[in-house]
Symmetry: C2
Subunit: 428 residues, 2 copies
């Protein structure tokens, strides 16, 4: 029986046109975060199981990881996220590294879940982290970086909203204000995380179930649209003040589509203070795209002094959906600038022309097969290459070659140098 | 107990200085293969187990893969090599793709083996493949590409040798000429693969053991230094003629460090014709660096018409060892062009200066912590950043900022635009 040509379920093959798009997405991400002084790191895709048991949400470790025992008896995981890894790496060189430390990576991550729009088993995720800055400036910078990336892709502020919340504020709201115990707090957090996916009536029933006597207070809280809508006694809460300060800083730096959202939870256990999420406001695709926040506790889990940390992760699938639905995905052409067709026994001459053109920086492929000329030209077109150059007996003898621009139909005859100039002019 | 900060055994963490080097290696590879018209593809790191059972060497599948059963009961493998994957992808679109088809990828690959110099459990490997060209031109191009990559890294022809052999020639030598059956042929192939790692006496004993009566003939064969040293009756063998033709083409295109090597086997079962390997000639590091060859049979295993294919793989670890031992690894500096130190409550002004400088294309980081000035400067130096800019009360008021070049000690005071020019001049 013949082997299957399908990729592993929920993961993608990247044919050149797909890879070109991915390279474009990554290049824009890289360029932007590097403008902010972030430096790239990476790590093995396999990590010991313990790393995730420590602080990631239970659901991810127990139901969604790709884990197995290696031939040496070690329990290992194909990383489902990068945050535990980057914390491990910083902890390993806690004393040697200089702070503030700005790091980024674009790792592939694996989760075992039912593939659906925007959620695949393998995806890539830009991870941006700033270590060693405890002040609100770090939170501000992180949101500024996220915002700059979206703008670098051509997004405008009417396409997305940045929502902010504070873990410390929410904890006090649930605990002191609503009087919920730890178990109920955890249940409410999970409910709010799913809020936008639930029907209103189901959500309210679950809310009443969890909050009991405090249900009305909880509903009123959740109706708060701005920090000013919070109950009087909470206006001066440290978390509320920080959010106010952050919203002011964002406003001053030209970011006006940020707002307080009391229902914003973020799934992971490890966030300790301000959290944020970027939402697509397109009615067709109204959803959280990505987010992050402050997690000051992770590095310390490795037995070293803690390091204040703020970070976010931006997934490639969600991003591409966002750019696609807002018509922001570019048309990218083949990187091959010209293909030389060898007509007859002139491979050597064709190869030497190719080398000559390559030395001028052009990307040149070559067709030395004995297929018919029309088939060869059809193939150049199929591969979306703009120029074709013919090398046959006349050309081999004269050193003058015929170039055809398949886009305009224009033909030129000339030396390697002359053709190089024409191709570069056409492509510029 | 605190969590371990170690990466998984035999795999590497890439701190920014390591990642910078890897990015450099990949950039040179990418630039060079793209000059030859190759286009990048990629695929999931997990593949179904069947894919490797088909044609890869037994040892790799049975003893060296990372394989496990996923939560859905599928037997999967973390890819140990890319060739089966790329064959699968071409087979999936056999009819739609245009040929000759030039593809490359730089995947990470996993093998469970004892970590040692030049061999790690995770490594990256440039894979270059040319599909749909049956002629010797494809073999020639492949070697030309490999050679161009090494030269692009600054290698000169006295540092490495390119060794060539032919599978069809060797098969006939073992079968008709030495009279070995299939089992003995396979044993001899494995022995020759390990030849350079064995003591001469042990090698000869094993050779006698395998070849029996033909041992003297085998030894004589193995002493052949050029195609002309082969026995008369084999001079006109099709494999020998192809090798001669290839050596001529290489010579004509300026590649003079290629030679016939009858002992060159290449481990994988799937090679069908010419194979090649690039050897480091440094006496300290005398070893095979990478190689490839023709494998016309793989795409056809997926139930479609076969496609003639030539390819090679170049691993990052071996390459870096080669470049290191020949002093070809560059000193790469931090990508951060300047760090702004905020002195006092002037984050907003500092941030706006940073945004201004970034918009001119400079990579700017910012230190808004309340650490002491000397600590801040020490940190900039630690991160290998060349310029530091101070933003305190005077600067915030005047809009003129002080820049210090930590390399020369030179100081400049000026507007954002003036500083941007100075920094760019210094770095150019």
């Amino acid at each position: 029986m013949a082997l299957s040509t399908q990729p592993y379920k929920g993961a993608r093959d990247f044919y050149p046109e797909d890879k070109r798009l991915q390279n474009y997405l990554f290049a824009v991400m890289r360029y932007t975060v590097m403008l902010y002084g972030y430096q790239e790191y990476d790590a093995p895709i396999l990590e010991p199981m313990e790393l995730y048991k420590a602080k990631t949400g239970d659901e991810i470790v127990n139901e969604q990881t790709y884990n197995f025992t290696d031939r040496g008896g070690r329990e290992v995981v194909i990383r489902p996220e990068m945050t535990p890894t980057v914390s491990r790496m910083v902890a390993a060189r806690r004393q040697e590294l200089g702070y503030p430390l700005r790091w980024f990576s674009i790792p592939n991550l694996w989760r075992y879940e039912r593939p659906q729009r925007g959620r695949l088993r393998e995806h890539w995720q830009l991870n941006v982290d700033l270590f060693g800055e405890a002040g609100i400036e770090a939170d501000h910078e992180m949101i500024q970086v996220a915002d700059s990336i979206l703008k670098a892709f051509g997004a405008t502020t009417d396409m997305y909203k940045i929502r902010l919340n504070s873990r410390t504020l929410v904890n006090d709201l649930f605990d002191s204000y609503l009087g919920l115990n730890q178990e109920k707090t955890s249940a409410l957090t999970k409910l709010l995380d799913k809020m936008h996916k639930l029907e209103q009536s189901k959500f309210e029933a679950a809310l009443t179930d969890i909050c009991g006597d405090s249900s009305d207070k909880a509903k009123e809280l959740l109706s708060a649209k701005t920090l000013n809508d919070l109950p009087e006694q909470l206006q001066s809460h440290a978390g509320a003040s920080k959010l106010k300060q952050l919203l002011d800083l964002l406003e001053q730096s030209g970011i006006r589509n940020a707002e307080f959202d009391i229902s914003l939870m973020r799934g992971f256990d490890y966030y300790t203070d301000i959290v944020f999420e970027v939402f697509d406001v397109d009615p067709e695709n109204n959803r959280s795209m990505f987010g992050g926040g402050r997690y000051d506790g992770l590095v310390g889990l490795f037995g070293v002094d803690p390091v204040p940390t703020v970070g976010f992760g931006m997934g490639d699938v969600t991003l591409a959906n966002f750019l696609g639905s807002h018509n922001l995905l570019p048309q990218l052409r083949s990187e091959v600038d010209a293909t030389i067709l060898v007509l007859g026994d002139f491979y050597q001459q064709a190869n030497s022309l190719a080398q000559n053109l390559r030395s001028s920086g052009l990307n040149i492929s070559l067709d030395a097969t004995d297929r018919k000329l029309d088939k060869k030209i059809k193939n150049v077109d199929k591969q979306n290459v703009r120029h074709v150059i013919f090398v046959g007996e006349n050309e081999a003898q004269s050193g003058e070659f015929k170039l055809k621009d398949l886009e305009t139909g224009q033909e030129t005859t000339g030396s390697a140098e002359a053709l190089s100039r024409v191709i570069k002019d056409n492509l510029s």
